[in-house]
């Protein structure tokens, strides 16, 4: 058992706890600790990618208890991808925050580390209740981070965000209670087997529980009609926090993938069919609403928040086909959209600081500092966001179209996806032309923060690189999709004996 497997959770946890213990230490030290931890997380993420790349499931038995009794952590390709993505995103956000944003409230760094610990835990755990616990960790940390910096808009949006997620947690527990009550286990692999063998009388109840989970994850992932907390919450958060939140909706999507492709995927008539059936229209409407919201936004942060909605719709619609190709495409899009929405949140801050009035509001028009430089950055970021070539959005869109063309309903997705892209294009071209073309330069522009600018530019560049060197990534993701669609391998890794027993029974 490789102990490094648990480090993505423990490292930030220890760092966060240490930052609390030594809170009186100089701020620079706190910051440095945060950086060190996050940097190691990036390395760990790369290690995970490499190790999981072999196609094996790495299992870690916390407390040395065998599954399904103890809690196990499982690293597979999907987890590795999510871990690495989180680490890189976290590192970027931390870099941006260290420009002074981290000092606008208390304990940013500790909370940030806890947030990472929660995210990583959610991606690694193989136990449904443990998933709930890590959800709570990442949620409470996100509540705190959302409020970082203070202000009325944050209080209000934060309150709504918190309450809705509390309702979500209650539903999660109800689903857990139902699943445990009917199957008597919590380990996801074990659950998968028991759900598949459930007596017919229990199946509707299990299906109902699975739909409850869908609602819970749907709230986190922000799918229609559960998403309305998102725009205000995301647009109220401070830039690095909002950027980090780009991964938060993806946690919901991760959970949907994990649960519905493992726990409810076995048996003669897998229960997940119902979920896909619901997910498909809802995701399409989400996508459409995202497009409309992007067009109707009145500030860049709101626009970006709706871009998050749009990306969630796209992802879930693609995922609901549940084929290897569609899952691979969805994962590629997930990486792309996470990065780009993060970039846009940071960019909104970068630009807002340079605007004479209105911060990131569209209604305000006034001179902007460093017009051409920032305009160029915005231009490239916008291209990447809309999914125009040569950035990875183009690649992911093409892949999604390819994947969905093989489905009978796929053309609905085509229509909505392309229309939403057009709406996005309209919105960003309006923004860009009215911010960078209409008014002139500021007479005395505010000094330009070079660090954040470099960071944002490199993130856009990274998106380009993702397209340029996309082939290995695509290969990896295709294998990830393949692995996801084969729950038996997962179960065999977690429950070796049970798997052997089952194999023997089956001819």
């Amino acid at each position: 058992m490789n102990h490094a497997l648990i480090l993505p959770i423990l490292l930030p946890l220890i760092t966060g706890a240490g930052q609390l213990l030594f809170y009186q230490a100089p701020f620079a030290l706190q910051r440095l600790l945060g950086f060190a931890s996050t940097f190691w997380l990036v390395l760990l993420g790369i290690w995970c990618l490499q190790v999981a790349g072999n196609g094996e499931h790495l299992v870690y038995h916390a407390g040395d208890w065998p599954a399904p009794f103890g809690i196990v952590l499982i690293l597979d390709r999907l987890s590795a991808v999510m871990l690495a993505l989180t680490a890189v995103l976290g590192f970027c956000c931390l870099l941006y925050a260290s420009n002074g944003g981290d000092q606008r409230g208390a304990h940013f760094h500790a909370l940030f580390q806890f947030q990472l610990a929660g995210l990583n835990g959610a991606f690694l755990t193989g136990d449904l209740f443990n998933l709930f616990v890590f959800f709570e960790i990442l949620l409470i940390a996100s509540y705190a981070l959302l409020l970082h910096g203070g202000g009325r808009a944050r209080s209000r949006a934060g309150l709504h965000y918190v309450i809705i997620n509390l309702v979500g947690s209650a539903l999660f527990l109800i689903a857990l209670g139902t699943l445990y009550g009917l199957t008597g286990t919590l380990n996801m692999a074990d659950l998968a087997q028991r759900v598949a063998q459930a007596p017919p009388g229990d199946v509707p109840l299990l299906a109902a529980a699975s739909l409850l989970l869908l609602v819970v994850f749907g709230v986190k992932a922000a799918i229609l009609p559960l998403l309305f907390w998102l725009p205000r919450a995301y647009s109220a958060a401070s830039a690095p926090v909002a950027a980090l939140f780009a991964i938060m909706t993806k946690v919901g999507i991760y959970a949907i993938l994990r649960v519905f492709l493992l726990v409810f995927a076995l048996g003669e008539a897998p229960i997940n069919e119902t979920a896909w059936g619901w997910l498909w229209p809802l995701a399409l409407f989400t996508l459409a609403l995202g497009g409309i919201g992007v067009l109707g936004s009145n500030s860049l942060r709101t626009l970006t928040a709706y871009l998050v909605v749009l990306s969630v719709g796209t992802l879930l619609a693609t995922i609901s086909f549940a084929t290897q190709e569609s899952l691979g495409a969805a994962l590629f899009y997930l990486i792309h959209s996470t990065g780009m929405t993060a970039v846009f949140f940071l960019l909104a801050d970068l630009l807002g600081q340079q605007r004479e009035e209105g911060y990131d509001n569209f209604t305000a028009t006034g001179p902007i500092g460093h017009r051409w430089l920032l305009g160029t950055v915005f231009f490239f970021a916008a291209i990447a966001m809309v999914g125009l070539p040569p950035f990875s959005g183009f690649v992911s869109k093409a892949w999604i179209l390819q994947a969905s063309a093989q489905e009978s309903q796929g053309f609905w997705l085509w229509g909505v996806l392309l229309a939403a892209a057009l709406l996005t294009l309209i919105a960003v071209s309006r923004t860009g032309s009215s911010w960078f073309w209409r008014p002139g330069d500021m007479a005395r522009p505010y000094p330009l923060e070079r660090g954040p600018l470099t960071l944002v530019s490199s993130m856009v560049g990274l998106n380009g690189l993702l397209a340029v060197f996309g082939e290995p990534v695509m290969g990896y993701l295709e294998l990830t999709a393949q692995q996801l669609l084969d729950p038996h391998a997962y179960i065999a890794a977690v429950l070796p004996e049970a798997f052997v027993a089952r194999q023997e029974v089956a001819p």
Binding site: R152, I163, A170, Y180
Partner: protein
């Protein structure tokens, strides 16, 4: 017993959800608390109802299922943390926004 327990949970849930849908933060928090009571009891019930048999080795022949109890304990603690947090947040929001409405835009508040 099962029916009584189930009906009680139903009443708790109904009251909780109804309060959740009211227009003030305080009421919503009341609703959340009731709902979390109901949820904890529900989760607890997933181990079935057992009288006079705590999950302590040596006390009874067939002890109660300890796992749901452990889960509910965790849920109670998390619920407590969340309640404390949301109460203080509601307070902060009410003070900053000068009211504790949660129903839509309020003309009185300015989100500066």
């Amino acid at each position: 017993m099962a029916l009584l327990y189930a009906i009680t949970l139903g009443v708790l849930t109904t009251c909780g959800v109804y309060l959740l849908l009211r227009a003030r933060t305080f009421t919503v928090i009341l609703g959340l608390t009731l709902l979390s009571h109901a949820v904890n009891l529900y989760l607890f019930a997933s181990g079935r109802l057992v009288s006079s048999a705590p999950a302590i080795i040596g006390l009874s022949e067939q002890p109660a299922d300890p796992l749901p109890q452990a889960l509910v304990l965790t849920a109670i603690v998390i619920g407590f943390a969340m309640t404390a947090f949301v109460v203080v947040l509601a307070l902060k929001a009410a003070v900053e926004l000068r009211n504790d409405h949660v129903d839509g835009e309020n003309p009185d508040e300015d989100l500066a």
